[in-house]
């Protein structure tokens, strides 16, 4: 007798749903539980650290969200520039990408915060425009600008790769139906390319979230900077940085889950 085929379903649909649920959420729950346990059983210092650093979590969160929203738009423009047959547009986009990729993000952030305002002031002095001479940089604004400028270059390459991965026949079919280039991009190429690049885009988002810790160097009170301030005042590095690390971990784990959910729900039906 051949073994009987046993389907992988049980009598209880709830059990099936739990089994098929995304198991990585478990990791998120564990990290949250760990933080709750620490806060409840060792409020000193963990609750103190959390209360001290919570506005830093918020700053890290919205700095990342705002920067990344702009990165999605500017990266698309850069990516379209990189595939353009127009030599000037292509040249500008390529130079931008090559320069930004070749300079460390930390150096770029320092440039935007310290050198860029000074440059503006010098220009104001040279052209005798008082409004520019007295220009003062807003740290948060410069940090968001710096992150956006840098990550948009990476994102251009992601978009370019995504667009180039769509078979040539798609553009040909669209054009031979009478669509112009913009219509073909808008309705045919980009909707497919965006699905294609979701994993690397999610990756960029998580990397940006972590790299946003660098803005602590240019006077933005993000999670990392709040951690440093707390440590300087209390001299308990182990607990402080353990807590800071856990808080970053929650943010990145949740972001990874959201990305994986998006991937799952954007697959083509077959």
């Amino acid at each position: 007798m051949p073994p009987k085929y046993i389907p992988h379903t049980s009598a209880n649909p709830l059990v099936d749903r739990l089994k098929s649920a995304d198991r990585w959420w478990l990791l998120v729950i564990i990290v949250v539980a760990l933080i709750v346990i620490l806060i409840v059983f060792k409020p000193d210092p963990y609750l103190r650290i959390l209360l001290f650093a919570r506005d830093g979590v918020w700053v890290t969160f919205y700095t990342t969200i705002i920067s990344f929203s702009m990165v999605l738009v500017i990266g698309l423009i850069g990516g379209l520039g990189r595939i353009s047959h127009n030599k000037l547009i292509n040249g500008i986009a390529s130079i931008y990408v090559e320069i930004v990729r070749g300079v460390p993000l930390l150096v770029q952030l320092i440039f935007w915060y310290f050198a860029f305002p000074s440059l503006i002031q010098d220009l104001g002095d040279a052209w005798n425009i008082p409004a520019l001479s007295t220009y003062k940089a807003n740290p948060l604004l410069m940090a968001i600008l710096g992150l956006t400028f840098c990550y948009s270059a990476y994102m251009s390459e992601v978009y370019r790769a995504g667009i180039e991965s769509i078979p040539k026949g798609q553009m040909e079919a669209a054009r031979s139906l009478g669509m112009n280039y913009v219509q073909a991009m808008r309705y045919i190429i980009l909707p497919q390319a965006v699905r294609m690049i979701l994993p690397p885009v999610g990756n960029e988002f998580i990397t940006l979230l972590k790299d946003s810790s660098l803005v602590s160097v240019v006077a933005v009170a993000d999670l990392t900077r709040r951690g440093r301030e707390f440590m300087a005042a209390n001299f308990i590095p182990v607990q402080t940085w353990f807590m800071v690390a856990l808080l970053y971990l929650i943010l990145t784990l949740v972001a990874a889950r959201v990305v994986s959910w998006l991937e799952k729900h954007s697959r083509y039906e077959r």
Binding site: P167, A173, L177, R270
Partner: protein, 244 residues
């Protein structure tokens, strides 16, 4: 022959890097004519077909489609609106349903409202025999069904000319006939068709003229029954002996 050919190809040359793909091709196609182009791979038959709606640029010569010369961007778009093309690899849009594949260009190019576009699409799906697949995505369809949706998509633009670039070459054998049947119907309705294909059965049943190309040139042209049974040119004989 009637007055003005709907497709006029005159001394067209085309170079790819290192390859002289078309070497002075002359061809006139009359309104309502069905022309089948045969030839060994690399003979330039697909390239010639793709020149007719300017998916390929050519270096020399001229092509006039329905009185419109293929030179300015404006003219190229005007010609593309009148010429439908069906590809070997179907090239359906995988992120859209069969229905959406057929309605999209109607909406954004022809500016039809959604109701009209859907009506046209349903009629065409009926015509190609798969009205029940309207809401399926391309990957849910068989190759033959996908190609039939692709034909419907091209027809939805009300083309005056249909080009077929090896429409059955990527299909499993049992699916070839369902696509050829749709093409036969079209030919009988009087559609002007240029077909690159080695389907002799289709050529005999539907074509007014069969053309043999080799090395970027038209070697011989004749009604299919004459070309297949009594070819004049040595290269035609060699080719047919390999295919038949």
């Amino acid at each position: 022959m009637s007055a003005q050919p709907i497709i006029h190809i005159e001394n067209v040359h085309k170079h790819f890097v290192g390859v002289h793909a078309l070497r002075g091709v002359n061809l006139d196609v009359q309104l309502g004519e069905v022309v089948v182009i045969l030839g060994p791979s690399g003979s330039g038959k697909s390239t010639l077909l793709r020149c007719i709606n300017r998916l390929e640029e050519f270096d020399q010569g001229q092509i006039i489609v329905d009185g419109i010369p293929l030179d300015t961007t404006e003219n190229i778009n005007a010609v593309r609106a009148e010429v439908g093309i069906v590809f070997q690899q179907f090239n359906l849009f995988p992120h859209l349903t069969a229905m959406e594949n057929i309605t999209l260009a109607q909406k954004v190019v022809r500016k039809r409202d959604i109701k009209d576009a859907r009506g046209v699409a349903l009629d065409l799906l009926e015509k190609v025999g798969i009205p029940e697949k309207a809401d399926n995505y391309p990957l849910q369809l068989s190759g033959g069904q996908q190609q039939r949706v692709a034909i419907a998509r091209a027809l939805a633009m009300n083309p005056r000319i249909m080009l077929f670039d090896e429409p059955t070459s990527a299909l499993d054998p049992e699916m070839i006939q369902e696509v050829l049947d749709v093409m036969l119907d079209l030919a009988q309705e009087g559609m002007t068709m240029v077909v690159v294909s080695h389907e002799m059965g289709f050529a005999k049943a539907a074509a007014d003229r069969a053309i043999l190309m080799d090395e970027g040139q038209i070697i011989e042209e004749a009604p299919p029954e004459i070309l297949f049974t009594n070819p004049k040119h040595e290269r035609t004989k060699t080719f047919l002996s390999k295919v038949l």
